[in-house]
């Protein structure tokens, strides 16, 4: 189906003595939603942060749109068109919604901050996400509910002309209606040709939107399969045991951290 837009090969990452990612291969295809699933502590967020340039990889190679790249920081990731919604959201409480959405990429006019233009674009993006509960785009993030914060973090990521969007549990704090909006958004981004990665613990959501499902088990990529070819219970088994029938690792019990 879709062309690979982002390819990781043999990625390793340790924090001191803790080996978190073991020779991980991972492919994100343009126009597809890839679900990244795995138990708590499997290494999903770490993988995302490696892609975003927040953590450096110990080894492994990254290809973006076919050519090898080395991403040394969030700014370089953003320059390639990689946007991330972090699990912990990473918003500044004392800044308002607009200021957060444009943080690090403020629009300028004559060298000064162009508040009116940023506000206009922020409104536009929020409106396209059907955000109804935020009264004013000048509300400080500290005054927002958990779900509203999550929406701001998502809006911050879709504001830009991006090619790959990674969403780390974007619906964790959301209500029913907002979850629906985000899932619709995920599909819509893929239809626009972006490569979308969705991390989620909710299998119903995963099966609803994902084209492919990649499973991490103790920091190892045990399966990367089209969603149509696996069942709900197979994925759960892959997540919890590392294998399911002839899918997954040959000897998951040998896997150590």
């Amino acid at each position: 189906m879709g062309e690979p837009i982002l390819e990781l090969r043999g990625v390793n990452k340790s924090f001191g003595p803790v080996h978190v990612l073991h020779d991980v291969d991972f492919t994100v295809r343009a126009g597809e939603v890839t679900a990244l699933v795995g138990d708590n502590g499997a290494g999903k967020s770490t993988l995302v942060k490696c892609i975003a340039g927040i953590h450096s990889m110990d080894s492994g190679e990254v290809r973006f749109a076919g050519s090898p790249v080395h991403v040394h920081g969030p700014r370089e990731a953003a320059a390639l068109g990689i946007e991330v919604v972090y699990q912990d959201l990473a918003l500044c409480d004392n800044l308002d919604i607009v200021q957060n959405m444009f943080l690090g990429r403020e629009q300028l006019r004559g060298g000064l901050l162009d508040e009116a233009e940023m506000e206009r674009k922020a409104r536009q993006t929020l409106a396209s996400l059907s955000v109804r509960t935020v009264k004013s785009v000048r509300t400080l993030v500290s005054a927002l509910s958990g779900g509203q914060r999550q929406t701001v973090a998502i809006a911050k990521a879709v504001l830009w002309e991006s090619r790959v969007v990674l969403l780390d549990e974007p619906t964790a704090a959301l209500g029913v209606a907002q979850t629906r909006q985000v899932l619709d958004l995920v599909r819509r981004l893929a239809e626009q040709g972006l490569g979308v990665v969705l991390i989620s613990h909710n299998m119903a959501d995963v099966f609803e939107v994902a084209d492919r499902i990649a499973t991490l088990y103790l920091g190892r990529m045990v399966a990367e399969l089209p969603a149509k070819e696996v069942t709900h219970s197979q994925v759960v088994e892959l997540i919890t045991a590392g294998r399911s029938g002839d899918l997954g690792m040959a000897r998951p019990e040998a896997a150590t951290v």
Binding site: C92, Q99, G104, R105, S130, K135, R138
Partner: protein
């Protein structure tokens, strides 16, 4: 998917962050306190307090503190602190004065010309910037807490200044400098020292409230990790903030030299606390991420007005710190209560 929103006819920009912060409740109330104090003293001493001369001296005496507080506002918004400003001021003054003496015949700079004075200014600014850079690198790169780093430079900068001068104030300051920057006036009534302080403050406010640099200052103080993930060079930004603060302390040292005609080595041991008190009084949060330049200006003038008022009314000047502390605690308490009621909404 529905696209309707309640975002009312969303064309008119809302009040921007700057405007909103400007009238943010805390600044507003503390501004009222300042106006109240000024009016109060004017009523109590109608012939002595509200005079042009008194107003001028009030501004002159606050000028150096104001320059220091511009830097301190940036530092505290990043959730840092700089205890070294007073010592760095002294150090810069000594370096500037020594440089001017060294270039003058017989080591007496009293009649030195503008070339020598310019060298003195550069020396003072450099002296301040070096300490600021050292603070910044130790805090942002070596990740030593700002309180510890600047407590160290607070002692070290003063120590070095005393070593250089053997503890004796340098007293030969060019007359040309004293006449102009020290006690000269421009536009008939504006003391030059005040003019410099105003320019620095306006530039500081402009930098803080309308530029990326200012926005990043709030972001770093609010959530450094979020700032980093948004691609902001947090380390570089912190180094710059402390560097600017050191540079401004250097300028303060030069201004002080021009005004007093001596290096006043022993006269700045509580500058740091006065500046921090002023900035916090003005609504800048020690927890970072919150604050305004206007607030700091107001915060500098409340103690200044109290001092002047007490002197004119013949109240023992020892009451001034007591009164300032009371206002400071009241301001913070008031602010917290306001925030709590806001949270309860």
């Amino acid at each position: 998917m529905s696209t309707s929103t309640v975002e009312a006819p969303a064309t008119r920009p809302e009040r921007t962050g700057f405007g909103r912060r400007l009238v943010s409740a805390n600044t507003f109330w503390i501004g009222l306190v300042l106006v109240g104090l000024y009016l109060g003293f004017s009523v109590l001493a109608p012939s002595a307090f509200p005079t042009l001369f008194n107003f001028q001296t009030l501004l002159i005496e606050a000028s150096v503190l104001l320059v220091l507080s511009v830097g301190m506002t940036f530092v505290i918004i990043t959730s840092g602190i700089d205890l070294s400003v007073g010592s760095v001021l002294v150090f810069a003054g000594v370096v500037g004065a020594k440089a001017m003496e060294a270039l003058s015949p017989g080591h007496d700079a009293t009649s030195a010309g503008w070339g020598v004075i310019a060298v003195g200014l550069v020396a003072a600014l450099t002296g301040g910037a070096v300490w600021g850079l050292a603070n910044g690198l130790l805090i942002a790169r070596a990740k030593i807490p700002p309180l510890i780093v600047t407590l160290g430079s607070f002692g070290a900068a003063l120590g070095v200044a005393e070593l250089v001068t053997a503890g004796v104030d340098v007293r030969t300051v060019p007359q040309a400098l004293r006449r102009t920057l020290g006690y000269g006036t421009s536009f008939v009534v504006v003391p030059n020292l005040v003019l410099v302080a105003v320019v620095v403050t306006v530039l500081g406010g402009w930098l803080l409230h309308t530029t990326r640099f200012g926005r990043y200052t709030y972001a770093v103080g609010s959530n450094a990790e979020a700032a980093r993930r948004s691609g902001i060079g947090v380390t570089r930004h912190l180094v710059l903030v402390y560097l600017i603060t050191g540079l401004l302390a250097g300028l303060g040292g030069f201004m002080s030299l021009a005004y007093y005609g001596t290096t006043t080595i022993s006269g700045h041991s509580t500058d740091n606390l006065n500046v921090i008190a002023a900035v916090v009084l003005g609504g800048t949060s020690l927890f970072g991420g919150v604050g305004s330049m206007l607030g700091s200006v107001i915060g500098v003038f409340i103690p200044a007005v109290l001092t002047k008022g007490f002197v004119i009314l013949g109240v023992q000047p020892f009451w001034q710190p007591v009164a300032v502390s009371a206002v400071l605690v009241a301001a913070v308490w008031f602010d917290q209560r306001r925030r709590r009621t806001q949270d309860r909404r």
